[in-house]
Assembly symmetry: C2
Homo-oligomer: 193 residues x 2
């Protein structure tokens, strides 16, 4: 088991309905030292790739992306889910359906911050059915930028998102892939990587 | 002028209606090296203070808080604005009114991640009328935790938030205080600190 799998085993909580709660260290309270280990590991896995910019989506992707960006020495752009009066000018917009929130969201990035030919690494905390990620991929394509890779903290391997993304030919690196969870015993089974 | 004031002068855009756009380096695209300078400066200003935890609010506070947390070596908790199915258990809730989004929001923190007697540093990107910050302060008080200080990137000094917070006796450090903006000339006037 790697450091993240160990942490999930130790502090993750399995709930009914295939919910894995990692809010004590990843997406409500954030363990910054863990995020640093994750950033270092993303850099190791994508060491051979040109990365000009990291793209993530609010809210829980932002912390992971910002700490990871230190290892790549690049700026972070985070996609917004709602339009604010501060978001003016031309924007890339993609429609996505959220599993967690059971509603449709828009994913929005200002055209100023994603340019043709830029090499982009996508980073997010969770990959389940992959809707948010599909929105980000759509936006990178709209911009004429290049998705060099996708770094995910926790992939739910029993949902279709990861398989779809890999089938599409993207280089997807998930630090932990959960193949099964049992709410009764609290056990998490990870995929061998 | 300090490094943040210089950056605002260089890359900030003044819009009608007292809108200061800093989305090219702070709250849509994020310059991680700038965030590191900010984190270092927050640590310098709050060097004499016990900080057990940094509390911020989604979305644009998260990156600043996470990078700053490296200098304090503490975890970050970010308050959520909407309830998700992943947020269960007991929660602290405060009602806040947003200037930017012209709507009321709830600020929510799980009771698991803020405990009685914890020493908390609040960090956010903007302070204008201070509603979001008042929500965070309310939550720290609800928890019986101690607000040791408040670190803000950009304070709009011509709005009432900063004055109210200082009147209430809080130690508030804003890296840049904007006293006036002129959309026609694009000039920003900073308060001498």
């Amino acid at each position: 088991m790697n450091f993240l799998e160990e942490r999930i085993q130790k502090d993750g909580i399995v709930k009914e309905g295939n919910v894995l709660k990692v809010d004590s260290f990843l997406n409500h309270q954030m363990d910054i030292r863990l995020l640093e280990q994750m950033g270092e590991e993303f850099k190791r896995r994508f060491a051979d790739v040109q990365v000009d910019k990291i793209l993530t989506i609010e809210a829980s992707g932002i912390g992971i992306a910002c700490i990871a960006a230190r290892y790549f020495d690049v700026p972070v752009v985070f996609a917004k889910k709602t339009q604010s009066i501060n978001l003016d000018g031309e924007m890339y917009v993609a429609e996505v359906e959220s599993f967690t929130h059971k509603c449709k969201n828009q994913v929005i990035v200002s055209k100023k911050f994603l340019k043709e030919g830029e090499h982009v690494l996508l980073i997010d905390d969770f990959l389940a059915n992959g809707c948010a990620l599909q929105g980000l991929l759509s936006i990178v394509a709209q911009a004429g930028a290049i998705t060099e890779g996708i770094g995910i903290a926790i992939e739910k391997g029993f949902q279709s998102g990861g398989r779809i993304i890999r089938n599409l030919g993207y280089r997807l690196e998930s630090l932990a892939i959960v193949d099964a969870m049992d709410a009764e015993t609290g056990t998490v089974t990870f995929r061998e990587q």
